[in-house]
């Protein structure tokens, strides 16, 4: 009889009472919709590390934007996008024109970028600014931040829909695509896709921080692959898990007063662990199947 009020207090009243919670919710859901499917493609292309590297690479750009005009979202976002695209372009070119594998050069780039970014910010701001940029504050998303996230999410979902066929083909069988050229040159798919990843990381940096933004992209993507055999189902599942992690993370961080970004990623991690156990490709169903075959 008094379950309903409890549920109301736990799940709905934070969003009903506080505008900042509503903005955080919308931003997180928009990110979940656009970033998680990109993560699925990153894992399929065996580029999971690339998301990480790019999220670090964004940092010096954000720092330079911060140096130029303080905690201005526009300046930091532009700086982040430029830096990320530079690194994505360089990484693509390195793997196309040299024999070096992409991940080796990326590992180098992202460590340097992280060091550079932290130094720049620490030299020109306070500890609090640094924490804010590294780990974000979903609860501090303002109207302009919301516009950025919503704009990027819209553009990125539309762009992914346009690129879908080419990207799937180029991911599954790049050799086929380069041997049977028609229309858009093959490398454009990869570069276009990397640009989308950078845009989403930058959109995520205010909500989740540069270091955490990649978590909402990769964790749901990795666990979604355990649930389904077809790509569309994996994409939808990844978005749904990211959205669930977002809502749960925001509520937990509200009730227990924990930092929102890491809490959201923690929830995504919990969903991943659950998937490892329970999903059709996970441990329990497989164990169940082998146990029955033996018996």
């Amino acid at each position: 009889m008094n379950v309903l009020p409890v549920l109301w207090d736990a799940l709905l009243s934070p969003f009903v009472e506080f505008a900042f919670m509503r903005r955080a919710l919308v931003a997180t859901l928009a990110l979940a919709l656009s970033a998680a499917p990109l993560g699925v493609f990153l894992t399929l292309r065996r580029m999971s590390l690339l998301g990480d590297a790019l999220s670090h690479a964004v940092l010096p750009g954000v720092a330079i934007g911060f140096m130029v005009s303080g905690l201005s979202l526009t300046a930091m976002a532009i700086g982040g996008v430029l830096a990320g695209m530079l690194v994505a372009g360089v990484a693509g070119a390195v793997s196309r024109f040299t024999t070096l594998k992409e991940d080796a050069s990326l590992a180098a780039i992202y460590l340097v970028a992280l060091a550079l970014g932290v130094t720049l910010i620490a030299g020109h701001g306070t500890q609090l600014d640094l924490l804010h940029i590294l780990f974000g504050s979903a609860l501090g998303v303002d109207a302009s931040g919301l516009l950025l996230v919503a704009g990027v999410a819209t553009a990125s979902v539309l762009a992914l829909a346009l690129m879908y066929r080419g990207l799937v083909l180029e991911t599954f069988d790049p050799v086929f695509l380069s041997a049977h050229r028609s229309g858009v040159p093959p490398w454009m798919w990869q570069q276009g896709f990397l640009m989308l990843v950078v845009l989403n990381l930058v959109a995520g940096f205010q909500t989740l921080g540069t270091l955490m933004a990649v978590g909402l992209m990769m964790l749901p993507a990795v666990s979604a692959r355990l649930w389904h055999d077809t790509l569309p189902a994996q994409l939808v599942n990844a978005s749904a898990q990211a959205a669930l992690a977002g809502v749960a993370g925001l509520l937990l961080s509200y009730h227990f007063d924990t930092p929102s970004g890491p809490t959201i990623i923690g929830c995504a991690g919990a969903l991943y662990a659950t998937s490892l156990l329970l999903a059709p490709g996970g441990w329990l169903p497989r164990w169940w199947a082998t146990a029955h075959r033996v018996a």
Partner: protein, 236 residues
């Protein structure tokens, strides 16, 4: 041979980091010919096909001419695909129509009918909605042959098409190759099994980083030629 050349090679040389994998190969594949490319490991067989498919840069003086009105299809070696990719067999075969649909073109019911017909021709009817990850090696190779059928190309390049597949699959894929030959398509295939070459391929190109012999299979597959190829391949 009186037939027009489908592909002409002029001084074809391909190097990987200054090490020539293939040098000074000249000659042509006649239209409608069925040629086996054979040779020891590291002889440049795959490189030859990649060169023709435009996948590796050629040296400056090398030139490949292809009859421009002929469409070409290329099937790389088996191992290069990600088997865990979440893709349905039907969609994999549909990729063969990429040059027609492009990235944004509509897939018509006629195209889907072609895909179904191709799947039936390779003995995979009813497999359309299976994920490629659940296929055996032989079934995957049949799927890729269905994709070749859908591509409907006049020139078909096959890189070790019968590797890692069972003998039953090999037999039925060879039947398809024979069918392409009868239809007047130009087929070039890298093959390992000499008996297979003698039985099914009228023409043979024997490579050992350079062209050892190229012509009718019976004239190419002699002891002297094979010994020379082994000797050449053993050189550093």
């Amino acid at each position: 041979m009186s037939a027009l050349p489908a592909i002409s090679l002029h001084n074809l040389t391909v190097s990987y980091r200054q090490h020539p994998a293939l040098h000074h190969v000249s000659g042509h594949f006649a239209q409608g010919s069925l040629t086996a490319v054979i040779g020891p490991n590291g002889a440049g067989k795959s490189t030859l096909l990649k060169g023709i498919a435009g996948l590796v840069p050629l040296d400056r003086h090398a030139r490949i001419e292809r009859a421009s009105e002929l469409r070409m299809a290329y099937l790389p070696q088996h191992s290069e695909l990600d088997r865990s990719f979440p893709l349905e067999v039907r969609d994999c075969v549909l990729m063969g129509l990429w040059t027609q649909t492009g990235a944004w073109g509509r897939v018509t019911p006629a195209m889907l009918a072609r895909v179904d017909a191709a799947l039936e021709a390779v003995g995979l009817q009813g497999f359309g909605h299976r994920p490629v990850g659940t296929l055996s090696s032989g079934q995957l190779q049949r799927t890729l042959f269905a994709r070749l059928l859908v591509q409907d190309a006049q020139i078909i390049l096959l890189d070790e098409p019968f590797n890692a597949v069972d003998s039953k699959t090999t037999a039925s894929l060879l039947t398809l190759v024979q069918q392409w030959h009868r239809q007047g398509r130009t087929v070039v295939a890298v093959v390992h099994d000499d008996a297979q070459v003698r039985a099914h391929f009228p023409q043979t190109l024997l490579l050992a980083r350079e062209c050892i012999a190229w012509g009718a299979t019976t004239e190419v597959l002699t002891h002297e030629n094979l010994a020379r190829a082994r000797h050449m391949a053993a050189l550093p």
